[in-house]
């Protein structure tokens, strides 16, 4: 079930009504209702895959409990390896079997049948949550793990199929401490407002204009000639599409969680305001970046074992991060490009740090130059990221290469007449939003709906300006929310599922 659909709105309305009726008399019924609703939500697409979800929970719960029971070190390691291996096998079979066979056929000229497996929705997300739980259990960081808490931690529908990838220490303590599961009017109000803003971003701001973008990618897939302008329209345009799509999803997920009194972590924080690629990854899909850092990059050596080890760790982490997004070489290349950017950033920072060490005070950067340099860094980062998006979006390697070549000037000026049509005239508006406007998390900061927001912005030290942008439970914001929701609802289309649902 897609959040931006009439069926989901009906589901949510019924759930809120049932939950309210049940939990107002029996405060503890909230949890089982949410579990049942989450299973209905997941089973709406292919009910058979519910078995997979339940099996994953049962298996990982058994391993985690065994690890928490304090077995001998060798047994702990063995259990952890077994648990991680089986989780990876599950995702490997459902997500990568076809890709592996295709790659084998291509490289070894073999003729194995490519298995036609339907990817269980959200498998990449809940499998990663399970792996992080097992590793934390191995490290002795899981305080308490009750079965039904584990079930809701994995299956909670706002985060089940497209994240955020929630860590056990973010969700399990909330579930364990909660005794009163009744709905709160203020939480529902804030949750609905966040959900509405997310819905608006998707159904009004971006979805109606995506077909124009598809024209360029279709042309690339058909092998048509493309020019410099076409290439950049494709890269920047898709950058906006995925920005609004993922930002919308993240807002909606956090809003939905908060309606039921549960806090999900910040997952998206104005990534196009990033002044470096490192900064970009602190703001884009934050929960995935965090997972890759804690469970892959650091175990691979991180940045404390010399330059070569760091470069290797970065490239491996980002390549696998790319592959996580999709079973295709274009995703790997996308990840490798980001890995290469991070390596360049790493060298650059090392160079600057060395230079700073030798420079005298008089050679420090003058104050008047800081803003233009910052703006330049933001633009360069934005363009570098935009360049990578064509690999992420293009249907195959040839199409991606065609677009990348066009972006680098190996083609004409422009071939697909889109400059005055559809999405392109909206680019200035999108840039205004992504570069100059406060993001939803900042607008809603005072409501404390999302976890870790204070790591990105401390409202007490640097309050939001202008002050009227700050969300509050007032008549004015209720009217704004009603208008935003109505516009988003009217613009609803069930055509374009969230991009991150595919992962």
């Amino acid at each position: 079930m897609v959040f931006a659909s009439h069926s989901f709105l009906a589901f949510l309305l019924i759930l809120l009504a049932v939950y309210w009726l049940a939990a107002r008399h029996h405060a503890r019924w909230g949890k089982p209702i949410l579990i049942v609703a989450s299973f209905i939500f997941y089973g709406f697409w292919i009910p058979a895959y519910l078995v997979l979800l339940v099996a994953s929970i049962l298996f990982n719960h058994a391993i985690a409990r065994a690890l928490m029971a304090g077995p001998a070190p060798q047994m702990r390691r063995m259990l952890t390896v077994l648990g991680i291996a089986l989780n990876l096998a599950l995702i490997g079979f459902y997500k990568y079997a076809g890709f592996v066979v295709e790659s084998l056929n291509w490289t070894l000229h073999t003729g194995f049948d490519v298995p036609d497996i339907i990817l269980p929705i959200g498998i990449s997300f809940f499998t990663f949550q399970q792996i992080s739980l097992l590793v934390d259990a191995y490290r002795g960081r899981v305080q308490q793990l009750r079965f039904w808490d584990h079930v809701l931690f994995i299956a909670f529908f706002p985060q089940l199929i497209a994240g955020p990838i929630v860590r056990q220490d973010e969700m399990l303590p909330q579930l364990a401490a909660r005794t009163d599961w009744r709905l709160r009017a203020d939480y529902i109000a804030i949750g609905i407002a966040l959900f509405s803003f997310g819905l608006f971003k998707k159904s009004v701001l971006i979805d109606p204009f995506v077909p124009y973008l598809d024209l360029v990618y279709d042309a690339a897939a058909a092998g048509d000639a493309l020019g410099f302008v076409d290439g950049w329209i494709a890269g920047i345009g898709y950058g906006f599409q995925i920005y609004f799509d993922f930002s919308a999803y993240s807002d909606m997920a956090i809003g939905l969680g908060f309606m039921f009194g549960l806090h999900l972590p910040v997952n998206f924080f104005s990534p196009y305001k990033a002044h470096s690629i490192r900064d970009f990854w602190r703001r884009w899909h934050i929960s995935l970046s965090r997972f890759l850092r804690d469970y892959l990059f650091i175990p691979l050596g991180g940045s404390r074992h010399g330059m070569m080890r760091t470069v290797a760790a970065l490239m491996i982490t980002m390549s696998l991060g790319g592959l996580w997004h999709g079973a295709g070489w274009t995703f790997v290349i996308w990840g490798m490009l980001h890995g290469a950017y991070l390596v360049v950033n790493h060298f650059w920072r090392a160079l600057v740090a060395r230079g700073r060490g030798q420079a005298s005070e008089s050679r420090q950067r003058p104050r008047w130059l800081r803003l233009p340099l910052h703006a330049l860094s933001v633009v360069v980062t934005f363009l570098a990221v935009s360049f990578t998006w064509v690999f992420f979006r293009a249907s195959d390697f040839d199409a991606a290469l065609g677009l990348a070549s066009a972006m680098l000037g190996f083609g004409g000026w422009h071939e697909v007449a889109l400059i005055t049509r559809g999405i392109v005239p909206l680019f200035p508006l999108y840039l205004l939003i992504v570069w100059f406007m406060p993001n939803t998390m900042e607008l809603f900061q005072a409501s404390r709906a999302a976890l870790h927001i204070e790591q990105y912005r401390d409202d007490r030290q640097r309050p939001l300006r202008p002050g009227w942008l700050k969300f509050e439970l007032s008549t004015r914001w209720a009217a704004i929310t009603a208008a935003v929701f109505i516009c988003a609802w009217f613009a609803l289309s069930n055509l374009s599922p969230f991009i991150y649902f595919q992962f």
């Binding site: 009439h6 220490d169 973010e170 303590p173 909330q174 401490a177 909660r178 009163d180 009744r182 709160r184 009017a185 203020d186 939480y187 529902i188 109000a189 804030i190 609905i192 979805d207 109606p208 995506v210 077909p211 598809d214 279709d218 897939a221 058909a222 009194g261 806090h263 249907s395 404390r448 976890l451 439970l473 007032s474 008549t475 914001w477 209720a478 009217a479 929310t481 009603a482 208008a483 929701f485 109505i486 516009c487 609802w489 009217f490 613009a491 609803l492 289309s493 069930n494 055509l495 374009s496």
Partner: protein
């Protein structure tokens, strides 16, 4: 971790503010939705009025949603299917007057093969439907084109892709008409267009399909030199018949669409758009047209209703407009190159064997399409006309066409 899991008492200020917020939100949403629903439903009755049909059906933007519903209300005898090339080409009122039957234009902007087939599926429930005009360009396009576009909603069609009745279709349509965001956009556009018409604004200025292209903006010289070369070169022998080229195959959706019409006794009038020659690539082998002929002939053998196939997309009086003499306001083409409804009238007259509109040049009436399925030498006819794009006019036509075009 700083997480507030304590529940405040029932009368906490935050909870009271939340309750007030939710009340205002609910009142706001219900009020706006009710007002919009009322406006939409009133506007819908207005859309159904006979005198507004040309505007309603030729409007671009929301056809995917309102056309299937409108179609079921009008229950026409003839329906046009295709993308915007078809939508802009046929004015339902003017074409209806010419043919003496109710015509519905089901063309939509960027209509894909799948969408067109699905609209046809939904339209088959209408017992009045006698004939379908099918634009073949939709089915002989790029394979990578999107299957459907923004706004296409299968749940409001009468049947699903496997021809099973769609559950609750009436309810879905009622919801769509009353609370669909498209309705607001369509209403605003429709009302402003109707107001412009009632103010006496000229038709090309208020109805996009009737807008006229300025053909003098295009350098026609290379085209003119190719199609009308020196007379010596112009009288070559037309190339012989070649087998349809491999790789030119129609989309499988066309097959499903034709099977549907055949099973319901609906006559099919298939055609390729008479695109202006400056927009056509020169294919003297007529590979696409021959492939379509071959395919439609095979379908006719097993079809109880009549299949007719018309080719208009070759060098003729329509597609050569403005090539020899300057034309500032095209009679046949819109600024984007789509044929205007004036060209559609010519096509309809040719397809249904009706008199051409008064003032039509005799040469146009003589040489503008023919039913190729019943023609004895359809291949020869197609190749002869395809060769014109390269200046090969055979033994006749060159001088006469040139004279007509020079003295329109």
């Amino acid at each position: 971790m700083d997480i507030d899991t304590n529940q405040p008492s029932d009368d906490s200020p935050a909870r009271a503010a939340g309750r007030r917020f939710l009340r205002i939100l609910a009142i706001g949403v219900v009020t706006i939705a009710s007002v919009v629903a009322c406006i939409n439903l009133v506007a819908w009755r207005y859309m159904l009025a006979e005198e507004n049909q040309a505007i309603v059906q030729l409007l671009s933007g929301w056809g995917r949603i309102y056309k299937p519903i409108l179609y079921d209300d009008i229950k026409p005898e003839i329906a046009v299917f295709g993308a915007s090339w078809a939508r802009d080409g046929f004015d339902p009122i003017e074409t209806g007057k010419l043919l003496g039957r109710r015509v519905f234009n089901h063309g939509v902007s960027g209509g894909s093969a799948y969408e067109t087939r699905r609209f046809a599926d939904s339209a088959l429930g209408n017992p009045n439907l006698q004939a379908a005009i099918v634009n073949l360009d939709t089915f002989f396009r790029n394979e990578t084109a999107a299957r459907f576009r923004y706004g296409f909603d299968e749940s409001i069609l009468n049947v699903d892709a496997e021809h099973r009745p769609t559950p609750f279709v009436g309810l879905r349509r009622a919801y769509s008409l009353a609370l669909g965001g498209w309705a607001v956009g369509a209403n605003v556009k429709l009302i402003s267009t109707i107001l412009a018409r009632d103010r006496g604004v000229a038709r090309p200025d208020y109805l996009e399909s009737y807008e006229q292209r300025n053909l003098t903006r295009r350098n026609m010289k290379p085209l003119r030199d190719r199609i009308f070369p020196d007379p010596e070169r112009a009288r070559r022998t037309t190339a012989g018949y070649t087998e349809p080229q491999e790789g030119v195959i129609p989309d499988e959706e066309l097959d499903i669409l034709i099977e549907g019409f055949c099973a319901n006794g609906v006559d099919i009038y298939a055609y390729f758009t008479p695109t202006h020659m400056y927009k056509q690539s020169c294919d003297v082998t007529a590979s696409r047209e021959l492939a379509a002929l071959d395919y439609l002939r095979r379908k006719q053998r097993s079809c109880v209703s009549r299949i007719q196939y018309f080719q208009f997309a070759y060098a003729n009086m329509v597609t050569l407009e403005g090539v020899l003499s300057p034309v500032k306001a095209s009679h046949f083409y819109r600024p984007d190159g789509h044929p205007r409804p004036t060209a559609g009238l010519m096509m309809a007259a040719s397809m249904f064997d009706k008199p051409f509109p008064p003032g039509t040049p005799p040469m146009l009436a003589q040489d503008f399409g023919i039913d190729l399925i019943s023609h004895a030498d359809a291949e020869g006819w197609l190749l002869e006309r395809a060769a014109r794009c390269d200046g090969d006019w055979g033994e006749q036509g060159y001088d006469a066409m040139k004279q007509e075009l020079l003295n329109p």
